[in-house]
Symmetry: C2
Subunit: 186 residues, 2 copies
DNA sequence: TAGCAAGTGGGACGATCGTTCAGGTACTTT
DNA sequence: AAAGTACCTGAACGATCGTCCCACTTGCTA
């Protein structure tokens, strides 16, 4: 049983991921509404039929893209926690920094992630992916106070989505006291 | 200066609101993606050209619908606070009840409201409407602790959006301790 | 080397879309 | 009563959409 030595499959898989990455860029730029076979193909620099070959439908393409996006999100959360631990901090600084970055330079990406949330609200198959970053946090962070932890998780989501409708993104310094409050011991 | 006695204008305005209400139903059912002139017209029981007559473009229709939705949302929040005050309660019970209702029977409506959030993230003109319920809360509720209040607002949003991707909606009883924590004095 | 499998891509089909237009109706004003 | 205004609506246009078909190249296998 060989493990991926077929050059055709390898290149196919590569193009498949390229299409997914192009789709994510389209979502960041124009939202899920802007995703069509043609816009994605143009963004990826491949013919239109290539997207239909690798994904049985446009819906499949969206699902695959948002699952991939969720995986990246979870990975980021993982490393953030790892970074905070290596500094021996409680994580407030790291969390505030991550929020500010999500609402500033990576604003498009954050919007894409919340489109995933909404799509998951309508498509149960997407829910595990949408919950993944929550699961990563839950499994990695020790939390004796269950209620306080749930407030923390909800607070992060609320700060992000409210930050998206602010006229200008909040800075890490502005977010810091709120994050401190969310992380403060009971 | 007469105040709306022209029968034509009155009926026109009535149809306009009927179209908006139909649009909201379409959003609740199929999301913003499902909104077309034809689906809305079918839902409202009017000819397709009627939606283009009253709204200069599909975008105008969406904006008008979501602004209307935001106004209703703000009104609900207003009455919730009023109800809580008349009972002399701190509001935890009312808030938990409202959240449970938003995630249960009124789930479609809640999803529509968060689509407004995301649309507002991309369209600055919609942001005042999207922030309206936050403004109502901010202006009506006395908050000496600014940080705690911001945590409360964020927590509400977070609980709602996370409740939308739960496999089954949380009950008021489950939400109660978290809401209590959000409202507890510093 | 013949045959199969995987990926590629140009072209096209029918469906649906947003929007326009012109003719018609109902109401108000002069 | 005539003119003007506001609303209504059937029909249609061009654009774009998802998807399919089929001929093709490329790489693997027997």
């Amino acid at each position: 049983m060989k493990i991926q030595t077929d050059g055709r499959k390898i290149r196919g898989e590569k193009r498949r991921t390229e299409i997914i990455e192009a789709t994510l860029r389209v979502i960041e730029r124009d939202g899920v509404a802007g995703v069509t076979h043609r816009t994605v193909a143009l963004e990826a620099g491949v013919p239109t039929t290539s997207t239909t070959y690798h994904f049985s439908s446009l819906d499949d393409l969206l699902v695959a893209t948002l699952i991939s996006c969720a995986r990246d999100m979870a990975t980021e959360v993982y490393w953030m926690i790892d970074r905070a631990r290596s500094r021996g901090s409680r994580g407030a600084e790291e969390v505030a920094g991550l929020l500010a970055e999500a609402l500033g330079p990576r604003r498009g990406r954050t919007m894409a992630e919340y489109e995933l949330y909404l799509l998951a609200a309508r498509k149960p198959e997407l829910r595990p992916a949408a919950r993944r970053w929550l699961d990563v946090l839950t499994s990695m962070v020790r939390h004796d106070d269950e209620v306080a932890f749930r407030v923390f998780l909800a607070g992060i989501d609320g700060l992000l989505i409210q930050g998206l409708i602010d006229d200008e993104p909040p800075s890490a310094e502005e977010l810091r006291p709120v994050v401190d409050y969310l992380l403060k011991p009971a």
